[in-house]
Amino acid sequence: MPLFAGTAFIALIAMCVAVPIGLFSGIYLAEYASTKVRKYSKPIIEILAGIPTVVYGFFAALTVGPFFRTLGESLGLTVSSESALAAGLIMGVMIIPYISSLSDDVINSVPQSLREGSYAIGATKSETIKKVVIPAALPGIIGSILLAVSRAIGETMIVVMAAGLAANLTINPLESTTTITTQIVMILVGDQEFDSPKTQAAFALGLTLFIATLILNYIALRVVKKYREKYD
């Protein structure tokens, strides 16, 4: 149980970072940015998706974690250097491009005629985006967020390296928590016998993870596909 809570908790922190930044980036790139800004900033943001997760883990464990600890100390808080906050935050950064690229795509596929209809009755650009474009693109955006959640749940290295191993049932983001993926790694690193109960537990966890992400992906892909058909 603490495992699932930890997984959900870290994924939640990650989404808190990634959804606003990713979504607003997607909107900005699709609606406001000049072709030049778009040409350069889109690949730069997508670099974030190409960086191996172990690199994020290293960064989270060595730079972000200690930074939070010193910050916490100066504020009079006890912050474990392996905190859920650091792991979630970095995971969120990793996920930004998944959300921004996909929502950029779906926003672009909203027909221009809808925007013109809105401008023509005197809406400003942001009103058009908020009240017409985003509602129209909503299924696609939700699909992209679901895919991102499934990424966050399946993410291993960042959590292994930055969030610690103690299975705490906690909602304090400053303590360390652990996730399903971390637990699998912890059980299977080292030379166990293949048929020990511990190993089997790891396989059971893996199966749970597989099914959970499969369901999420299935729903997400269905939603996105349906959305595409609507405007094709």
């Binding site: 930044i21 990713g22 979504l23 607003f24 980036s25 909107i27 900005y28 790139l29 609606e31 406001y32 940015a33 800004v37 900033s41 730069i44 943001i45 670099i47 974030l48 190409g50 960086i51 191996p52 997760t53 172990v54 690199v55 883990g57 290293f58 960064f59 464990a61 060595l62 730079t63 950064v93 930004i96 491009p97 921004s100 400003t124 650009k125 942001s126 009103e127 895919l147 499934s150 990424r151 749940i153 399946g154 291993t156 290295m157 292994v160 390296m161 993926t181 699998i184 790694v185 299977l188 293949f194 790891a202 396989f203 893996g206 993870l209 597989f210 992400t213 499969l214 992906n217 892909l221």
Partner: protein, 420 residues
């Protein structure tokens, strides 16, 4: 509220909204910059290594050589006494404790470095020659400015006595930095100054090659079949949905698969690039099939019709016309898939690539590490020296990924030009 006030308010909302977008994009870009800057500033020092110049007295009597002096006899000789004798001369020591501290200024490999020098220059025997010897990690970090000197002695890794020697050596200009070739030629080590990514480079290389050999043909064939030959029915629909799903399954699940099937059922050797390559190719397959199919789909039907109309068979049409045209797209998809595989860590940890391997693997069935796993392993180490090594490894890894992605983008752009 008057009309003007309302309008003003609406424009303020407009500006605010635009600002949020701009801030988000800038934040994302800043994250990239911070990350890269952080890694580079930590890692760049790993490319140099601190050397201490020592006057070594190659006194043949200390080597206890039997018979004539030649390469073979030198290789078998024990250089320990000779080395220690010369090293201790760099600074006066009162007792054995201080002598130990002097020796700890050097990397534990000093004996072999002194030996290798003589083997390369056999004519120097019975002479006193200045030899540059790799400094220990603590001195290395001190020299690179990573250890603060003003801490009290018990919180420092370098004692006052060693600091005195260090300052003395600096004055005599005996301390020097040179390019760290060990980083690329050596395998893993417990000592940061001797650890290199040679082993994991080879490991990654073998892994990727195996992954390429396995996944590329299968992916190409599968996508050609699905796109060109397969009937459109429920089964192919089902397969299509599943391929898309599999591409998004967490990599650690593939690690479990590799562990469960390849290692425990088929009993392949643990920790080897062979198993890693097979596991990663399972993971990469769907990720390659998707872009392959997309690029096959992008070939206009008119090409197929043209070929069919001059009497080519379906098979000839596909393999003479469609596949060559789709090639750049499929290649770029494959490269991106392999780049992802190269950066993958979690499944490799599960199949035992975390073993401590000093030797550089010479074949895919030798135990080895890979670049990302090396990053993981070193990041768990306490020594300061490993931090820069890890960062340097990441720099190498990112370098490879950037090159691969550039090739992929180049190929894709070339391909896209054709149809537009």
């Amino acid at each position: 509220m008057t009309k003007e006030q309302r309008l003003k308010k609406r424009y303020r909302a407009e500006k605010r909204f635009k600002m949020y977008g701009l801030i988000s994009v800038s934040l994302a870009v800043i994250f990239v910059l911070i990350l890269v800057q952080n890694i580079f500033s930590k890692g760049s020092s790993a490319f140099s290594r601190t050397m201490i110049e020592v006057a070594v007295n190659y006194d043949s009597s200390l080597l206890e050589l039997e018979g004539p002096i030649n390469q073979n006899s030198l290789k078998d000789a024990d250089f320990y006494d000779l080395a220690v004798e010369s090293l201790l001369k760099i600074y006066p020591a009162k007792d054995s404790k201080e002598e130990r501290q002097i020796l700890r200024l050097f990397s534990p490999d000093y004996e072999f470095e002194i030996k290798d020098f003589l083997i390369k220059n056999p004519n120097k025997i019975d002479q006193i020659v200045p030899v540059k010897i790799t400094a220990s990690d603590d001195i290395d970090q001190l020299n690179k400015g990573n250890f603060p000197r003003d801490l009290p002695e018990d919180r420092r890794r370098v004692s006052n006595y060693q600091l005195n020697i260090y300052d003395n050596l600096i004055e005599k200009e005996k301390i020097d930095k040179k390019f760290n070739n060990y980083l690329f030629t050596k395998g893993d080590s417990r000592d940061p100054e001797l650890a290199g990514i040679g082993g994991s480079l080879m490991g990654s290389f073998f892994t990727i090659i195996i992954c390429l050999i396995l996944s590329f043909p299968i992916a190409i064939m599968a996508s050609i079949y699905l796109e060109e030959f397969a009937p459109k029915n429920k089964i192919t629909d089902f397969i299509e949905i599943n391929i898309n799903n599999l591409a998004a399954v967490p990599s650690i699940v593939y690690g479990l698969l590799g562990l469960g099937i390849l290692l425990s059922v088929m009993e392949f050797p643990r920790s080897t690039p062979l198993v890693a390559g097979i596991t990663l190719s399972l993971m990469t397959l769907p990720r390659i099939i998707i872009p392959c199919r997309a690029s096959l789909k992008a070939v206009p039907p008119s090409i197929r019709e043209a070929a069919l109309s001059v009497g080519a068979s379906k098979f000839q049409t596909v393999f003479h016309h469609v596949v060559p045209l789709a090639m750049p797209g499929t290649l770029s998809g494959t490269i991106i898939g392999l780049a992802q595989a190269l950066g993958e860590t979690a499944p490799l940890i599960l199949i035992g690539m975390v073993a401590f391997v000093v030797d550089i693997p010479s074949s895919p069935v030798d135990p080895s590490a890979s670049l990302p796993v090396q990053v993981y392993l070193w990041s768990e180490q306490a020594e300061r020296g490993f931090v820069e090594k890890t960062s340097a490894t990441i720099m190498m890894l990112l370098g490879f990924l950037i090159v691969m992605n550039f090739i992929a983008v180049y190929l894709r752009q070339k391909f896209e030009k054709k149809w537009n």
